[in-house]
């Protein structure tokens, strides 16, 4: 090699260098990128699919305003850690008949703030962007695009059993997150 090299040869050397350097870069970048994006398509934090116990059903009386309950998972695996009794979120529950109950996620369907109960207005209120929801969860006013998300609440042997779920925010229909 040297100044006397024909231009074709020099060009080949340049291409070969770039190819080798690029190859080295790709071989390193491949596993690194694979590792970094790994959590994106994994359920890294588990959420219980089985119904969670909320206590005795008799605590709810017909006609009473909704009760706020914390939803606590007995076991959550968060990446490498396993924790017990983890608070997942909150729900509003009330009795709607002798054997009928209603449960609404306290997660606002607009942008995910925690929805509260406004006893004066007798409706749900999201403090972040002023969305109002009726006692049945239906949307009354504000930017939310749908009513409060209904959660599955059953009574088994006199105990309230709630199935927790999260839904996508900002949609007009309820889609699992």
């Amino acid at each position: 090699m040297g100044d006397k090299d024909p231009p074709d040869r020099r060009k080949f050397l340049k291409v070969a260098t770039c190819a080798m350097g690029g190859g080295v870069g790709l071989v390193v970048a491949g596993p690194v990128i694979r590792l970094v994006i790994d959590p994106a398509d994994k359920q890294t934090v588990t959420s219980p699919t089985e119904p969670l116990d909320l206590g005795d059903a008799r605590q709810l009386t017909l006609g009473a305003p909704p009760t706020r309950v914390e939803v606590i998972a007995p076991l959550v695996k968060d990446a490498w850690v396993a924790s017990q009794n983890v608070v997942l979120g909150a729900a509003w529950i009330r009795r709607t008949g002798a054997d009928a109950f209603d449960a609404r996620s306290a997660v606002c369907p607009h942008l995910g703030c925690a929805v509260g109960w406004d006893p004066a207005a007798n409706n749900y209120l999201c403090p972040c962007h002023d969305s109002h929801f009726g006692i049945g969860g239906e949307k009354l006013s504000g930017p939310a695009e749908r009513g409060l998300d209904k959660l599955d609440l059953k009574v088994v042997d006199g105990r309230l059993k709630l199935t927790w779920a999260r839904f996508k925010a900002g949609r007009s229909t309820q889609e699992p997150a």
């Binding site: 090699m1 040297g2 100044d3 020099r10 050397l13 340049k14 070969a16 260098t17 080798m20 350097g21 190859g23 080295v24 071989v27 390193v28 970048a29 596993p31 690194v32 694979r34 590792l35 970094v36 790994d38 959590p39 695996k77 968060d78 990446a79 490498w80 850690v81 396993a82 924790s83 017990q84």
Partner: protein
């Protein structure tokens, strides 16, 4: 188009047209080491950034997050392996770079500063490795760091302060990890980057030291091609090694109570061996020798000042350097040979490896508890109970005995009923009722005929070890024999009642004396009744009701009662049979009148030996076994 774009940025970046950089004496493979080092540093940066996106520097989480990277995240093992072994590769290539520079005399005037920056970079690289090794918070990293800081603490005057500063206080803890993490990913990378830029810029300014009398060649692409090839080769070797090792090793979580054979990273092995060899002088040696080595490297350009660069004219300087490397290599090999010849060490290493495998298996299966990775063992399902069971119970209750009665002689000491998955479930209860004296139940205990007879023979002076081989003595009932106690309500007639089985409990279905045998079709109802006593939620209520009738018609109530806490007329009370409380009570005192009585029970009382919590844990385990299968048990892994 491309020219225009290039011109656009060249103007904005104020870069004028310039002459291509030339290499005096031509391009050479001798010059690739610096470039390979820069490549390896970039490799460490890229893999390190990815690892930092997973790593958690706290004593409770560090090991768990590293185990997660290694065993669960996609290609985490590969990235971690490249990062860890890449560090080793840096030390190797830096050594080659140093030797090449020294041999070609490139440290001589005016390039001394380049050399000194290089030596400083080498020291920082080694410190970088030290700060990284502790982050994994496993036994290997933890104990190696303890030794290293112990050496640092030996520094006169300031040693103790250095240690406390590095530790972040008086003892290993969360601040130790956050501080070493800060050093490893912020301070040292920043320092090394700045010094590397200065080192390279200065080296470029001075140009390479010509090796040969050849025409100059342009750096691009002549030298670049060689550099790229060397990088590719380095990466290929590194990759092959990492794949072969499946990343980097990870020992069990750091445990200050658990002895461990601490070994430094391989490039500090020579210092380790030096300490071993120097006996009581180890503290001084550990301080002084690295200082001498470092001092020699720094002083080299000052000692070897003459302008000659040819190697054979500089035998003294190069000879000293060669001697130093030879010594380091020899010490390294000695240390490795010493370890590989140590059979005891090999045994301990194997045990440590088993512990590590188990910890990682448990972390994968159950996650790491919030209390910290070291609790990964004790919070594993049934771990405590299984440990107690293995230590206290399996001696008598192991299910490894052969079912064939002939082979049982050698298991004479393993007396009790087998305890295995399915213990106390319906099938187990049924098998027991059909033949309580089967090998898997009472065959070798006082409660069964064969053993009662053997006992009688032994008492008569037979003194044999093999009860099963002994011919049974057909008539003589043992005087202190328990069996009489039971199956007859009329205690007085009992002595003559020779026809009845002399068993503590006869089979429900084939007994010859006493109440009519239970019919097979009734047996399931009786089983269901007994099964329901544990409080099992899935008991069939109709069957249980029928079982009550069978319990009476079959004469069970002659000996037994189902009253909670009550003793039967001539047999154990069955109240709560198979429940957790029942098991706890039984384990606490099997000799209680409500259980087997002191006459009949050969099982020790555990109310002193085991705490109530431990007894309860074993009881919970027995309960778990009822519904468990062999596969469930295997899934818990080895202890």
């Amino acid at each position: 188009m491309r020219g225009k774009l290039a011109a656009f940025f060249r103007e904005r970046a104020a870069i004028g047209e310039h002459e291509p950089a030339m290499i005096q004496g031509g391009a050479s493979f001798a010059y690739v080491f610096g470039s390979v080092l820069v490549f390896l540093l970039l490799l460490e940066a890229a893999t390190g950034a990815a690892l930092a996106a997973f790593y958690s520097p706290s004593t409770t989480d560090a090991w768990g997050s590293v185990a997660y990277i290694q065993d669960q995240a996609s290609l985490g093992w590969l990235v971690r392996g490249l990062h860890f072994h890449g560090g080793g590769a840096i030390v190797v290539v830096a050594g080659l770079h140093l030797v090449q520079t020294a041999v070609s005399g490139a440290y001589k005037r005016p390039r001394e500063l380049v050399w000194w920056l290089g030596v400083l970079l080498l020291v920082l690289t080694l410190a970088w490795a030290v700060t990284g090794y502790v982050l994994r918070w496993d036994q290997a990293g933890y104990w190696a760091n303890r030794v290293e800081l112990g050496i640092a603490a030996g520094t006169p005057l300031v040693g103790g302060k250095i240690r406390d500063l590095a530790l972040g206080g008086n003892e290993y803890g969360n601040l130790t990890l956050t501080r070493f993490y800060a050093l490893h990913v912020v301070l040292l990378p920043a320092l090394v980057t700045i010094l590397t830029v200065a080192h390279v810029a200065l080296a470029r300014k001075h140009g390479t030291t010509p090796l040969r009398d050849r025409p100059a060649a342009p750096r691009w692409p002549d030298q670049s091609l060689r550099d790229a090839f060397a990088m590719a080769l380095t990466l290929a070797i590194l990759l092959a090694y990492v794949v072969n090792q499946h990343g980097a090793d990870l020992a069990a979580p750091a445990d200050p109570s658990q002895a461990y054979d601490a070994r430094p990273l391989w490039y500090f092995r020579w210092l380790f061996e030096l300490r071993e060899l120097s006996g009581s002088a180890e503290k001084i040696v550990a301080m002084v020798v690295p200082a001498i080595v470092g001092g020699f490297l720094v002083a080299l350009p000052l000692l070897d000042k003459k302008p000659e660069r040819a190697a054979r004219q500089r035998t003294l300087a190069l000879g000293a350097l060669a001697g130093m490397f030879a010594l380091i290599a020899a010490l390294t090999v000695m240390s490795l040979v010493r370890d590989s010849g140590d059979a005891e060490l090999a045994k301990r290493s194997e045990a440590a490896q088993k512990l590590a495998d188990r910890a990682r298996m448990l972390a994968r299966a159950n996650g790491v508890p919030v209390t910290g990775a070291q609790d990964v063992f004790s919070t594993a399902p049934m771990w405590k109970a299984r440990t107690i069971f293995a230590q206290k119970c399996s001696g008598c209750h192991d299910d490894k005995r052969p079912k064939d009665p002939k082979g049982m002689a050698e298991f004479k000491d393993v007396k009790g009923p087998y305890i295995a998955p399915g213990h106390g479930n319906r099938a187990w209860l049924k098998a027991f009722l059909m033949n309580p004296n089967a090998p898997e139940f009472w065959a070798l205990t006082k409660l069964s005929k064969a053993s009662v007879k053997a006992q009688a023979n032994e008492d008569a002076g037979g003194n044999t070890d093999k009860p099963a081989d002994k011919k049974p003595d057909p008539k003589k009932p043992d005087p202190k024999k328990p069996a009489d106690k039971k199956d007859d309500k009329k205690a007085d007639d009992k002595a003559d009642d020779k026809k009845s089985d002399d068993l503590a409990m006869p089979s429900c279905c084939v007994r010859k004396a006493g109440p009519a045998p239970v019919k097979l079709e009734e047996l399931d109802d009786l089983v269901e009744l007994l099964y329901s006593l544990s409080g099992a939620a899935d008991a069939d209520k109709a069957k249980v009701a029928r079982g009550m009738t069978v319990f009476e018609s079959g004469g069970c109530d002659n000996c037994h009662t189902m009253n909670e806490g009550g003793a039967g007329a001539a047999g154990p009370g069955l109240g709560g049979l198979g429940s957790r409380d029942y098991y706890t009570s039984f384990i606490s005192n099997p000799k209680s009148p409500i259980h087997m009585t002191a006459d009949l029970s050969e099982m020790p009382q555990f109310n002193k030996e085991l705490s109530l919590v431990d007894r309860d844990a074993v009881a919970a385990y027995l309960l778990w076994l009822r519904t468990a299968t062999k596969a469930d048990l295997d899934a818990l892994g080895p202890l």
